[in-house]
Symmetry: C2
Subunit: 262 residues, 2 copies
Amino acid sequence: MPRMASSTSASSARPAATDPAFGAAPAFSPLYRQIKALLTRSLQGGEWRPGEAIPSEVELAARFKVSQGTVRKAIDALADENLLVRRQGKGTFVATHAEEHVQFRFLRLIPDEGEVGGMARRFIDCRRQRASSDVARALALKAGDAVVQVRRVLSFRGKPVVLDDIWLPGQAFKGLTADRLAEYKGPMYGLFESEFGVRMIRAEEKLRALAADAEAAELLELPAGAPLLSVERLSFTYGDRPVELRRGLYDTTTHHYRNELN
Amino acid sequence: MPRMASSTSASSARPAATDPAFGAAPAFSPLYRQIKALLTRSLQGGEWRPGEAIPSEVELAARFKVSQGTVRKAIDALADENLLVRRQGKGTFVATHAEEHVQFRFLRLIPDEGEVGGMARRFIDCRRQRASSDVARALALKAGDAVVQVRRVLSFRGKPVVLDDIWLPGQAFKGLTADRLAEYKGPMYGLFESEFGVRMIRAEEKLRALAADAEAAELLELPAGAPLLSVERLSFTYGDRPVELRRGLYDTTTHHYRNELN
DNA sequence: GAGTGGTCTAGACCACTGA
DNA sequence: CAGTGGTCTAGACCACTCG
């Protein structure tokens, strides 16, 4: 029955290691949260790579000197956050974008009718440059730091539908080229994961409607001024570190952005 | 140790009440799911009204002849779906839109800068009519059935930002008038809940960009053809029954639609 | 059949609320 | 203080996968 760190019911020693002076929140942290944090650290540190199985529940329970039920709760929480995937009878696995048949976890654009079928990708550009102040702020970089910018078009049945501009921190994405992007089969985030060790965990999007400028209109084969759905996405890895800024322009004449409210 | 209905390990009797002929899915249903279904039925049937407390976990455990841990799991699931709200030390309560300070659970439009502060409502219209085939299909009605249509505008700092057209099944919303809507303080879904016993559980939205037509442009005080974010929402009550169709047109020059991807 | 995750139990104790 | 939800345990048994 280990108690580990807990600001209230500590096994012994002084009452709290946290809040040294001003009495902030009590910050009671149950055991399973601490286990969850430890597991997260191991994921972040690469102890288990995407697609691999993590140790069984009984093993982890032994390692952490905790009951199986407690590690179970920790794993449940991580599974809810899509960091782990449970498979009954087989084990618990680190989530991956590679094999993910739900490659559309992040792309919410759906054809109005018909299947969600694959889009054709075309990479227009991929170059290294200095971050503008906007991009730097979003990615938590200093203005002028190196960034990789990628521009691409997605087409559905030959008609261009999505124009994406993507900014990545140059530091983490050193060898990224248009060729590497074009060669790779499967979702882009799968490449980021296997080649650069950067796994996208969650993202925030800001949507608005705007009129197509000349450049966007040409690339999307639309008249200038056509209404477009602008989707600005900031993606995060472990530890809520922003690692991708993306600005997509969607032609929504035959597609729509689908969202669920719970 | 009651076993209740379970297609595999039934306590006695025949092996399965389900799949009488063709061997479909095994459909094993653990106890806590069955408890969850029973609780949902009680919610749906109005045994406990929005805002009220449901019986304590020990009480429910006794009622269902089940351990506390099992009802706990059922309640957890319902809390995840926002049907119940747990409050430590007080009890478990039926979720409500009325007191919900997060009135913005369904309205995802956020000012680009500044607080999310209140919008002024103005009801333009509220009339009963016959459902068009589109509306009927969405609301699972027959074409020609009675529906209530509401039109309103939301303004932020004096500037109109949202134009909503709302369709509701006439059956369930008999006494709904523009006056009732205007009088009621708080979120619209709070009114639906307390006056008509219709509680919105979840919703699906389809977003697209389009150019403002003359009518929308006038009401939103924009030039005709201005790009607008169109948000088509279908809302559901208990049992996934659709009960509201809403088509909003958002001016996104100073606001944006915020979304989180997990 | 061995090993994995999934369910269920019974009981102990902790944290929070309100009278 | 009693009553509520929240955590943790230990152990039994079930469902699923795969060799």
